[in-house]
Symmetry: C2
Subunit: 306 residues, 2 copies
């Protein structure tokens, strides 16, 4: 049955930007399961601690594997991407990049740090290990006009850098072009909220997902469903507070339009029961800042797009 | 035995600011258990939805019950405050305040919303209920010089508005004056990160805590211990990003000074494994902005102040 045939895309089928005109490398039925190989964000240009970020080709960063066209997806719909598995390889990298990040003036840079993934643990060195928290930084669809390099986030998704985009997350992506044109990359074995040195544990890997289609409903930005909450996003340029404003407005829009809150109820509920937080606020921020607002699943918020 | 005698302070013994010269209403031995009654942030001036925030006396907001002197506490030490119980009363309030909050231009204000607490649930109205998440917004000690109204946060604590300051949290407060002079107030039955309309579910209640003393060690700001992480803080004026910078610097200071990380290891670890987030970023922000950074408990971060 077409809807359940497993599909696979290799890590050479990538895009470097999201725009309005994207050619699919795979076309699938709603309900299909796809496994994607993803490159690390440096596309293999960093292999050891002797390889420095100042020496790489920045035209070849943040590749996203795809795009996948979903049959029947039309502007106004959502692609529902359920991340079934996010499996990093054994070795990842973080870098300190001259001029970038909250503490950059206090450190030696450039610098490359190698990490080793073993089971559920990420080893930084003999002394420092921490839990694996795999996620994808870049997930998006074709835009309605602009073309954005994968370093940027926007209404199409892109470099959302939301650490909650790991196994079990269900991401509703707003379709702006026929087929949607899903692409995914920039896996991290772990990334902290804020990503204050501008890298997580950057790593290649495989993502297995189920893609489905919701007709005639979408968010302004991608909306993420977890077991206990809905997560809306807002993106902006260098000013994180503008991203936060947008995410709060998007949360209010959902509460009012999807769940029947008055705008006053929405504002109060956002303040007393929802968590406004940071996905990406590294600075100086030359790409995007990204905020999220988590709305708890309660009886009044049964599902969005209702 | 003095160290385990239960003590009690009523809700009339309050302070409205933290400064260098504070007179204790209670003096206890390290190890003592104390129960404090706390006022809601409006000090009872709002009782029904007909009572509007524009009509109250703003000299009487954010009272903190105390201060408590801890015998033997000297500048350079930390008071360790373990929140054993945070018990709100049955009725709380949120308000929409003209000119304040991300969505204020879209709503009718002033407006008062009453909430009813029943067991583990907070009821907003017939349609909207959400989980109880009790915490204290104001917790602090005497300062080393400045006097700050309880609406502000600073290195002494004060209005930190960290929703993680609920039952089970252990807060290490930096002692700057003999006795420490602990005071606590501004309970919320629930408050979202960001507190975007500037109120949580503001409510009176009782706090039961154990206070202990750590000699000769302290953070720049209060440091909070949870079961799975250490939480450091940074506070600033209206610019939240400055608060975030300070919290990241405080996280690095702990990683380097307490746990032996190099500054490069600290910067990378903060980016890949620690979550930089928002306590308070309501705007326009006339009081303080507050950021936190959560550092996971791993073998390399066994306890601070080691």
């Amino acid at each position: 049955m077409a809807a359940t045939t497993p599909h696979r895309i290799g890590r050479d089928d990538v895009v470097w930007s999201f725009g309005p005109d994207m050619e699919p490398v795979l076309e699938v039925e709603p309900g299909s399961i796809v496994t994607l190989e993803t490159n690390d964000c440096f596309t293999g240009q960093i292999q050891t601690e002797a390889d420095l970020v100042t020496e790489i080709d920045f035209e070849r960063v943040n590749s996203a594997t795809g795009p996948i066209a979903v049959r029947g997806a039309e502007p106004g719909d959502s692609l529902i991407v359920e991340l079934l598995q996010v499996r990093p390889v054994e070795r990842g990298f973080a870098t300190l990049i001259p001029g970038i990040g909250q503490l950059i003036d206090k450190v030696q840079a450039p610098l490359t740090q190698v990490f080793r993934v073993e089971g559920e643990t990420v080893h930084m060195n003999d002394r420092i290990s921490f839990p694996l928290r795999p996620m994808v930084g870049v997930i998006g669809v074709a835009t309605d006009g602009e073309t954005l390099f994968n370093g940027f986030a926007g209404r199409h998704g892109g470099n959302l850098d939301n650490h909650l985009h790991g196994p079990g997350a269900k991401i509703y992506l707003p379709v702006r072009q026929p087929g949607g044109m899903l692409a995914i990359g920039d896996m991290h074995a772990s990334m902290g909220d804020g990503e204050v040195c501008f890298t997580g544990v950057e790593i290649a890997g495989e993502v297995t997902l189920r893609v489905d289609l919701l007709k005639g409903k979408q968010g302004t930005w991608p909306v993420t469903e977890l077991a206990d909450r809905w997560v809306v996003h807002g993106t902006a340029g260098p000013d994180f507070m503008e991203a936060l404003d947008r995410a709060v407005e998007e949360g209010a829009r959902f509460l009012v339009e999807q769940w029947g809150f008055s705008i006053e109820e929405a504002f109060i509920f956002l303040s007393v029961a929802c968590d406004a937080n940071i996905c990406q606020a590294c600075r100086p921020q030359e790409f995007s800042t990204i905020a999220r607002v988590s709305i708890p699943k309660i009886s009044a918020t049964p599902r969005p797009f209702s």
